[in-house]
Assembly symmetry: C2
Homo-oligomer: 209 residues x 2
């Protein structure tokens, strides 16, 4: 059996297997995906551009949960952006273990780039200058991903020792639901900043040169 009459593999199943491994064990490898699909490692390279290609498939799957429709709605730009940010965060909160992986690799997935294209269009339509757009989008992304990352490893991030009793106590006292509050505050502050920027007001900190 060299070439099966009906293909054993497709991008759908490769992406699904990769995301599942990532959700279960926090990482994945190309051979692991091949094993899960009962296929030889090299076979994946006929459907996907290597490991980087698998990461893009995973990105597409996670980002599929984002509702980009709000970006082209008739609502005011700030409400559209707010709804997008909330949906964005919810999609990544469903797969927090994927965030570190996706934060460090460049975005090539066309479906995702298309959403950014629409977000850029929204901001330009709202009256922002071209050079203001990317800082705003990356700032919003930092907020969204940073707060979603909190959900990934809330306690395992610090390993308290006998020399750090207060830290150990603070970690033990930490409850759930605070990440949400932090996100709400950050989002409110971000939108206020963006409105101020559009209206030409100087909403900068104490260190403006």
């Amino acid at each position: 059996m060299a070439r099966p009459r009906t293909p054993l593999l497709d991008r759908e199943r490769i992406g699904a297997a990769g995301l599942q491994l990532l959700a279960e064990q926090g990482e994945f490898s190309v051979p692991q995906i091949a094993r899960a699909l009962g296929v030889q490692t090299g076979s994946l390279y006929h459907h996907v551009d290597g490991r980087a290609g698998v990461i893009e498939l995973i990105r597409e799957r996670v980002c599929a949960g984002i509702d980009g429709g709000t970006l082209s709605s008739l609502e005011p730009w700030d409400r559209s952006l707010e709804a997008w940010a909330r949906s964005y965060r919810a999609a990544f909160a469903a797969y927090p273990r994927a965030i570190p992986l996706l934060m460090t690799t460049p975005v090539r997935a066309p479906a995702v780039l298309a959403q950014y294209e629409r977000a850029v269009a929204l901001l330009l339509r709202a009256g922002f200058a071209a050079e203001q757009v990317m800082p705003l989008l990356t700032g919003l992304e930092n907020l969204v991903l940073g707060s979603a990352l909190d959900l990934a490893a809330p306690d395992a991030m610090w390993e308290p020792t006998p020399g750090t009793p207060l830290l150990a106590r603070a970690l033990a006292a930490q409850g759930p639901g605070r990440a949400e509050a932090a996100f709400e505050v950050g989002l409110t502050a971000f939108l206020a900043y963006a409105r101020g920027l559009r209206d030409g007001a100087a909403v900068t900190g104490p260190c403006t040169p």
Copy 2:
């Protein structure tokens, strides 16, 4: 030559070599460090707890640039925290390529845990409840690292295509120095939130259940 009269290796040089590789090429491996130090790969394991140990050495080197002295100063708690956050950000801004690596691995370095211990003490002394401390610290950390991460790969993060002309234009128009402004705004908002939290006021978003 099996055991040299004076050791060829020490944790100092291992950490320095690892950080240098990370700064130059964005990643490192144990064999690469060994090669740079003219030594066999296995030799590193006599001084360091494997790759994870090297990461902790790198964390210590990067965090050595943080001025933790402000945490035990006599100034008001919010000014102390602000100074710490600025110093924290500056230290990581010097090695932005290290951020993704350090964000995904648990903190074990005693010198770093000691700084967090002091930060916890500061917040408890300021009157915060134990369960409020970690959310505040992680929120501040998200802000600091998120904005420092902007400095790592500002343009390489998205790969615009013919299908995304607006995104391409926004990327091209993007100038430097905006990450600083975003950090200032985020920091101001964070401190305002923390003050409100301490005073018992409800500084939450529109979705408080």
